[in-house]
Structure formats: C-alpha cells, structure tokens
C-alpha cells in the first residue's frame, strides 16, 4: 500500500481543525495558438467545513478552471502551479490513481449541463451505484449499492425511485437529471461539494428546486460547498461568503451581506448595478460595463479591469493591485486602489453603481404618454391554436395523439409598447413566435398585423407586411452568416425589399451608429465581434426596414451579465427613439420586469395571467405566476433570506396529454390546499380569463393576491 492510499483510505478525522480546502497562489495556463492563456493567475481561497462559498464571475474569468484544478480534471495540456490543500494534504502533483480515491468520495462535483452529464448508455441507478462501488466495492455488494442508489434517488426527490432507477438518462427531464447528479455527488458523504453553475441550464422553477436540494445535501452531509455562478441572485441567499473573480484573479472577497451592500471594487459594483431587479417597481438605471473582459494571453501591466473602469486613474496602469482589507475588516478584501473613495460615497449597492458608472434611466417615448386604448394595434392574436400530430409506426404511420403546443391564446400589442411573454421551456412561447413570424393562416384563431388578418394575405401582401415585423434571435453566434460582412448582413433585408443602392449605402452606416457600433467596422466579419456586439448587429439588421414591431426571442440570455445591461439599455433607447413595439420572449422575469410594459404568463399553451407589468409582479393572482416569481432569486442577501419560497413539485406535464380542467392543478399548491368540493371545480372546469384589476386578467377559479417579492 502506498503512502497516499493510507492517507486517503482512512476516514476523515472530524477533530481536524482548519479549512477543508485551501487554495494558495494557484496558477493555471493552457497553450493556445495566440500564446499561453493564463486562465488562473494567483488565486487563493479557503473553504471551512460546512461553509458555502460562492464564486462569481463572467465566462473566461477562471472560475470553472480553478475548480477543475481542485478536482484534478484539467486536460493534460494545462500547466498548474501553486498549492491546493484538501484537509491539509497537498493535491497538486498527485497521480490520477491517487486523486481518483478522493474524487467522488471526499470531494464531489455537480456540473452545469445535466443533459450531457450522464452516460447515455447506462441506467441512472447503475450510474449512482457505480459511484458507491468504485470506492467501497470491497465492502458493499452490488445489490446493496443498487439499493442505496434507490434510497439516494428518493432522497433527492425523484418520485417512484425504485422504478425510475431503471430508467436511462434520456428518459429523465433536465431537472431530474440534475437531481441524479446531485445524488451521485452525495453518495459517499463527501466533505466538499463543488457545484459549477448547477442551475444555469434549468428553468427558474426547477432552479429553485435544485438550490433547495443543494441546501438539503449540505445539511445531510455537512460538507463545505463551493458554488460557481455568473448569477448574483443565485448565491445571495445560499452562500455565506463570496469571491468575485475577474481575469483569472479574485478581485473582491468577503461576507455575502458586505459585498452586496458595500461593494468596494468597481467591477463588483458594475455587476450588481447591471442586473435588473425583480423587486424594484420603478424604472431603474442599468449599469452597462463598456468593453469586454481582457484577453488572457498577454495582459498589460496594471489592473486588468482598468480599460472598462469608470474610476480609472493613471496609477491603475502601473501595477496590478493586490487584495487589500477594506473598511478595517479582515474578511472583506478588494483589489482596487480607490476602495476608500468608493466607501466615501453616500449611496449603497446598485445605486452607488449607477452613480459611479453614470447610468441613467432611459426616457420614455412620447407615444407612451398617449393612453393605451388610443394607440394603434400593431399585433393582435385571437384564440391562436397550433397543434402537432404525434405519429407512431414505421411503415404505416398512424396518429396516436396531439401535442397542443399553443391552445387558444389571445393578446394584443399596441404602438410603442413592450409585451413580455414568459413561461417555462415547453410552454409554447417559441411556437407562438414562429406562428406570428410565419404569417400563415393559423390552425385555429386569428393573427392580425397592423389591422390586417394574415389568413387573407396573398403572397405579395405577405411579403410587404414582413417589412413591418422583424426578429432578433437568441444566439448571436448562430444568427449571423459567418461568410457575410457586417455590411452585407445589415443590407440584406433592404436588398430583398428593393431599396436602391444609394439608399442602402446611406442607411447601413446610420444603423451601425444607431446600435452603438462604429461604421468603420462594416467590412469586418461576424467572427471578429464579441457576443454583445453581434447581438447589436442582429438588432441593426432587424431595424433596417423600419419595422413597427420587433420580435425579440430571448435576446440577452446568451450574453454575460455585464454585456446584457448594455443591450437592454439599447433596446429601451431604440424603442423610445423609434416608437417601436416589442414582443419580448424571455425566461428571465427580472429582465421582463425591467423592459416590458405588459406581461403575459404562459403555461402549457395557455396564457394564465396577463396585464400591466407592475400590477402582475406586485399583485400576482394566479398561483403559477406567484410560484414563478417566488422562484427567482433576488440579488439581495437580506431580502433573499427572509423570503418564503413557493417550490413547485415536479416538471411540466406533457402537452400531448394536459390535465383536465385547470392545466396547472397537478402542480398547484393552492389546489392542494382546497377542500374536495372546490378541488372538483379545478378538475372539471377550465378557468376562463377574468378581469382582476385594471389591465390585469388571470385564469384561476380561486384567484387571490399573494405577494411574493
């Protein structure tokens, strides 16, 4: 037996004092064509037993790389130096065989994308049992491990666990797979759990479930937790301490409350100021952080944030500032030479950010002052239906069912107005969009654009009406043809619609300026732009034909937080300047609250609540809206810890076989609390959409206000 086996096969000594994990001066670099990428540059942190450390940063900040280094899972090409001590024992320099004895037993990990985290060819139960067998194969029989796997699945809240353990990963939903991964992570009662963006790929309601489960996991195992995220909301209520990373280094660390209330590094300030707040009703000034994170191949001397910092002075460029104690507290440290000045401002948190970054509330458009009823209707949906056939059979296809993707939805959008369409994935948002953009005769109901019913259109009129409507897609990387120059990308819609050459040449640079890009860059290709810039190009293309309505399909969800704010601000400015109407599809309700005038909540192909945005957010009537709002974490540790969260059970039912009566009743907490005779109403009768207040309708038999923010 080698010394390492003796080290790690002995049970952990609970009496051992000190941190579980101690990272000191960690450096990680990778080779790349442009030179060595210094992904992590001198990172130091500690995690105490039972403590939750949140690591926050944008993509490329080194947060995931540093945790993979702890697990020993970096590719061979990575060069690692510094020290990683786990329970006092050095991990760097250990062989894979030695590290594999700790991985999954003492330190376990939960990954970002649950859809690809499980091996597709083995059952979920087998994969969990494997985690036990690989460490305790000598003392635990296969049957015992399989039984334990079922218990674990039950513990993480998989209903009917014994049966489901025999299922393959593709038979699980995303949320259930993440539960299975967590079951695997806690299988051997680890001392440290690293969760790398564990909820990023999940819907908000499922995110709330998974976060709660992680808290349970921590209680059960007593493990220290490192939770990595880009979402400041997620960690506000969960983490004890926070570390903000930028360009491979920690730039601010401290207690969660201190960092959210008294951020002392301009980057942290900017991050906090850039998130739209779900709990703020009045228009808020969003802080856009200009520029992009630096390239990590050849960093210039000085503070890496200096090129984007509003407080930059000459001294910032001379040397990279170390983490220094702020406000005389040894726990709160920030890497900025001007922390004292930030401390001297009167305002706190996001307000201080808006002040320092000079962010302003975007002016409302003239048209917004006209009462809604007097404005022109840009888009009207009346009872829109879209169904898909479910076919079975190889030689002779026969229809075995129908997916009611959109089942009779109605709303209108008026000039200069933004309607936010929200709901979980699979609720029919995208189908609705596609139906509107298709301009074809719908299966049921009517679509009218600027007063023209689309089913009456011939192909010539349909082509003409496309000018009045345009679209911005979610993924800025995939929605621009990489072989066209930006000039061609923006000019294309105008060429199709027969604009003259002169007009196009005049208008393209104009559009570039409009979206905040330099016209000199027109001859470049999409690959040379960052995600945020590409999304601006997508917006410029959408505006080329001077549309009345722009359909935005998750336009900011693929962008980093600091970039997101800039695009949201741009959209607001354009709307105000050009009098546009937006149909804004998003799953992020905070963004919707910030940008939308009205909001429609969809569930299983139906709109269950619709109305003026503040009325819906402040006084939601439908239990689903209440649950959805309560599931969204607020980036404020104090508020977040006081909130009572409504956790929805289970996943969205199949739209091929929706529940009778009210479709939400199977997951409804209100329904569950009702006496049987009232429950019968929910089961038998589909609730109609009823007026609840001025410009506020909800479809619930027992609608009542419940404040959740």
């Amino acid at each position: 037996m080698t010394s390492s086996e003796i080290l790690f096969d002995t049970p952990a000594d609970p009496a051992v004092e000190g941190p579980v994990l101690q990272v000191e001066d960690l450096h990680v670099s990778f080779p790349s064509e442009a030179g060595r990428v210094q992904a992590v540059r001198g990172l130091s942190y500690e995690v105490s037993p039972g403590e939750v450390l949140g690591i926050v940063g944008e993509s490329g900040s080194g947060k995931s790389v540093s945790s993979l280094a702890v697990m020993g899972l970096l590719p061979e090409s990575a060069r690692i130096s510094g020290s990683i001590k786990f329970q006092g024992r050095e991990l760097i320099g250990r062989t894979d065989a030695e590290l594999s004895k700790i991985r999954g037993r003492r330190i376990s990990m939960v990954f970002q994308d649950p859809l690809s985290a499980l091996t597709p060819v083995y059952t979920v139960g087998d994969q969990i049992a494997e985690a036990i067998l690989v460490h305790r194969g000598g003392s635990v029989s296969k049957q015992a491990a399989a039984k334990r796997a079922v218990e674990l699945l039950d513990l993480v809240g998989i209903p009917n666990a014994a049966e489901r353990a025999k299922a393959f990963p593709h038979e699980f939903s995303g949320g259930m797979r993440q539960r299975a991964v967590i079951a695997m992570a806690i299988a051997n009662d680890p001392d440290l759990i690293i969760a790398d963006e564990p909820t990023t790929a999940l819907d908000v309601t499922v995110q709330a479930q998974v976060l709660q489960l992680l808290e349970t996991a921590q209680e059960v195992t007593g493990a220290g937790i490192v939770i990595i995220t880009h979402d400041l909301g997620v960690v506000a209520g969960f983490a004890d301490r926070l570390m903000v990373m930028y360009a491979g280094r920690a730039v601010e660390t401290g207690k969660v409350e201190e960092i959210y209330q008294q951020p002392r590094m301009p980057y942290t300030l900017g991050l906090l100021g850039s998130i739209p707040r779900l709990d703020v009703g009045e228009k808020q000034a969003l802080v856009p952080i200009v520029g992009q994170p630096p390239s990590l191949t050849a960093l210039p001397p000085g503070c890496p944030f200096a090129p984007r910092c509003p407080m930059v002075v000459d001294a910032c460029h001379t040397a990279e500032p170390p983490l220094i104690d702020v406000d005389g507290s040894a726990e709160h440290r920030a890497a900025c030479i001007r922390t004292g000045e930030i401390a001297a401002t009167d305002s706190e948190g996001a307000e201080a950010a808006a002040e320092i970054f000079g962010a302003e509330v975007v002016e409302e458009a003239e048209i917004a002052k006209v009462p809604r009823e007097q404005r022109e209707i840009v888009l009207e949906l009346d009872g829109l239906v879209k169904e898909y056939a479910v076919n079975k059979g190889v030689v002779f296809k026969r229809r075995v069912g129908t997916v009611h993707a959109v089942d009779g939805i109605s709303f209108d959008i008026r000039e200069g107005e933004t309607l936010g369409l929200v709901g979980e994935s699979g609720c029919g948002k995208t189908t609705t969009l596609m139906e509107i953009l298709g301009l074809e005769k719908p299966m049921g109901g009517e679509i009218s654009v600027l007063g023209t019913n689309v089913s009456s259109l011939d192909s010539k009129r349909r082509f003409e009406i496309r000018r009045d409507m345009s679209v911005v897609f979610q993924d800025p990387m995939a929605s621009l043809d990489p072989r066209l120059t930006i000039n061609d990308v923006i000019a294309e819609p105008m060429q199709v619609h027969g604009y003259s050459k002169d007009e196009i040449n005049r208008r393209v640079p104009e559009l570039m300026k409009l979206v905040g890009l330099r016209p000199e860059q027109l001859s470049r290709y999409p690959g040379e732009f960052s995600g945020g810039q590409r999304q601006r190009i997508g917006i410029a293309r959408a505006l080329a034909l001077e549309p009345k309505l722009v359909v935005l399909d998750e336009p900011v969800s693929a962008l980093d937080v600091s970039i997101q704010a800039g695009v949201i601000n741009l959209l607001e400015e354009l709307k105000s300047k050009l009098g546009l109407a937006y149909l804004f599809v998003a799953h992020d309700l905070s963004v919707v609250r910030h940008i939308a005038d009205r909001v429609a909540v969809m569930y299983l192909g139906k709109i269950i609540e619709i109305g003026e945005v503040n009325s819906v957010f402040d006084a939601p009537r439908h239990p689903y809206t209440q649950a959805l709002l309560s599931a969204i974490p607020i980036p404020d540790p104090v508020k977040e810890r006081q909130r009572e969260r409504i956790i929805l059970t289970g996943d969205l039912p199949s739209p091929a076989n929706p529940p009778s009566g009210c479709r939400f009743r199977t997951r409804c907490f209100l329904h569950a609390s009702l006496p049987p005779e009232k429950q019968r109403t929910c089961i038998e009768l589909e609730p109609p959409r009823e007026v609840q207040a001025e410009d506020h309708e909800a479809a619930c038999h027992f609608a009542q206000i419940r404040q959740v923010l």
């Binding site: 594999s100 991985r103 499980l118 091996t119 597709p120 060819v121 985690a131 460490h135 593709h170 695997m184």
Partner: protein, 325 residues
C-alpha cells in the same frame, strides 16, 4: 421490438427480389453463352447447340426465364451452370470457403481497428497517433492487389530464410494432405495466415480511422468528466463510459463491412487461389453464365440486407435511446 425487426425482414425480401431480377435481366440481355460455345474449336455440332439453348431456356422471354429460375430457387434449386453442373452444390461450398477466409480477418480487423483507434484518440498528436495515422493512410491507399502480392513476396523470402514452407499462399489446404485432424488444422492455418493478414490490415486501417474520430468526440464529453468526478480513474472512465459510447456509431460500419467483404474479396480470393464467392462472380461472368451471376447477386443482396438488419439490432443493443418500445 421483435415485430419491428420482423417488418424490416419482410421489406428486405422484396428488395432482394428486385435486386436479383435486375441482375438476372441485365445478365440475360448481355450474356451470349451460345456464341461462346460456337467459338470453340472444333465447333460443337448444331444439334447439341440447339439442346443447350433449350437447356438454358434461351427460347423463352427473359421474365419467364426469371420466373422459372426463381421458382427453383424457392425450392432450394439454383439451376445449372452453362457447363451443366448444379449450382446449389457449389453455392454451399463456396459460401463456406468465403466465410472461412473472411470471418477471422474481419474479426481481427475490428478488434485491432478499435484498439488502435482508441489509443490514437487518447494519445492524440503523440508519436503513436502519428504513427498509426501514417500507416493507416499507406494501407488505405494500397490496393489489395498490391498488398497481397507484396505479402506473397515477403512470405517467400521468410520461407526461404527458414528453409521450409511455413507460410503457404496457394489454396485453402494442401491437396492430398494426410494426417489427423490436428495436423489438418495446422495445415489450414498455414494457408490462412497470409490472406487473413491481407484482409485484416486494410480493415484495421479503415476501422481505426473511424474509431479514432468517434472516440475523440466522446473524449471531451461531460459524462466522461462526471465518471471521473465519481472516482473512476481516467483509464477506467475511458473504457467503461467512453469506449462503450464511442462504439455506437461504429455499429453500422461493422455490420456493413462484414456483409460487403464476404463478396467484395474477389482480389484476395484470386491472389491466394481460394475458390470463394468473389472468385465465382468473376468465373460466372467470364463464362457468360446468367445463373451464376444471378445467384451471386442474390447472395450479395441477402448479405447487404442482413447487414442492415444486423446494424439495427446492434444499434438497439448498444444504444438505449433508440430502442423501440
């Protein structure tokens, strides 16, 4: 599942019939066995030529000839050759020869192809990877005709240096060989080594390229990372989770490789003088024999369709995601 595979089989029978009919028609239209007969020196008497015509049903229209032939096939009678020998007897023997020749070569090809592909992927851009890549490309670009003859030359010089005929490259066994079953087996193995090498080398080169790229796809996958995070060593995670998943796309290649090689090995058979199916096709065509050509075509069709069916079965066995309920 069983019902699904059964329906597939019914489809396949129809396809095999169509393929055979086309080959039969094409052969009947182009072949002129009587002309070949007349060119003999001295020419056969007119009466026997007439008799031959009748024997071969050349007086009937082609579709009728096909029906006549096919109704025999259904009863297990594949007709007679132009030289008036029963095809059925020879068919069984030749299938046996081909299977004995190719089964071993293909099995070795698949095993080593997978192994080399996996190692290349895991040690990407290392020396072993470059080495395997270079040799694969050399082998893939060498026609089996050249490779077979090179092997023969190499074997000859080995035999010469040893001073005895260890590696034999003519036929399946030594004619008139006397000995017990064990010595017979040894004799057959001596004959088998070279042709097996000729087949296996090409197969290894081919499969290793595909296995390498399918393994590379899996190497970066999240589930491999999860397996390691559970505590599996990298090697174990690669074998149990990585290779198992990377084999799925290979199923089709394996199945079709098998089906096609049994008849595609014409050159190998000819070089090493094995009288298998590939050799028979060439013999049949040069003898202007419609029945042989149609029989071999039917066999090819059955092989190809069986491969397709096998691919489906393999896929279902390897990948739970496509199992049909």
């Amino acid at each position: 599942m069983a019902g699904f595979l059964l329906r597939r089989l019914v489809n396949y029978v129809v396809l095999a019939l169509v393929a055979t009919f086309l080959a039969f028609t094409l052969a009947s239209v182009t072949f002129d066995p009587i002309g070949l007969l007349q060119q003999r020196n001295p020419p056969p008497p007119a009466a026997s030529i007439e008799a031959k015509k009748r024997d071969l049903h050349l007086d009937q229209p082609i579709p009728q000839r096909f029906v006549t032939w096919m109704s025999g096939v259904v009863q297990g009678d594949f007709g007679r050759t132009v030289a008036d020998r029963p095809i059925t007897d020879e068919l069984g023997r030749r299938i046996g020869v081909s299977l004995r020749l190719f089964l071993l070569g293909i099995t070795i090809g698949i095993l080593f192809g997978v192994l080399i592909g996996v190692v290349s992927a895991i040690r990407q851009y290392k020396f072993s990877d470059y080495f395997a890549t270079l040799f694969s490309f050399i082998l893939l670009s060498t026609p089996v005709l050249v490779l077979g003859n090179l092997l023969k030359i190499g074997a000859q010089s080995i035999n010469n240096s040893i001073g005895s005929n260890v590696l034999i490259f003519v036929g399946e066994e030594t004619p008139g060989f006397q000995g017990n079953w064990f010595e017979h087996l040894g004799d057959r193995l001596q004959h088998l080594i070279l042709p097996t090498l000729a087949i296996a080398l090409g197969q290894i080169a081919y499969y290793s390229r595909y296995q390498r790229s399918s393994m590379l796809d899996v190497l970066g996958s999240d589930f491999l990372r999860t397996a390691q995070a559970k505590g599996l060593t990298r090697r174990k995670a690669l074998m149990k989770h990585g290779l198992r998943t990377a084999l799925i796309p290979m199923a089709t290649l394996f199945a079709f490789g098998f089906g096609l090689l049994v008849v595609g090995g014409t050159f190998t058979e000819r070089i090493f003088t094995w009288y298998g199916m590939g050799d028979w096709l060439v013999t049949g065509i040069s003898a202007q024999d419609t029945n042989i050509t149609a029989t071999v075509t039917l066999f090819v069709a059955v092989c190809v369709l069986f491969s397709g069916w096998l691919a489906d079965v393999l896929y279902a066995a390897l990948d739970p995601r496509i199992r049909v309920n």
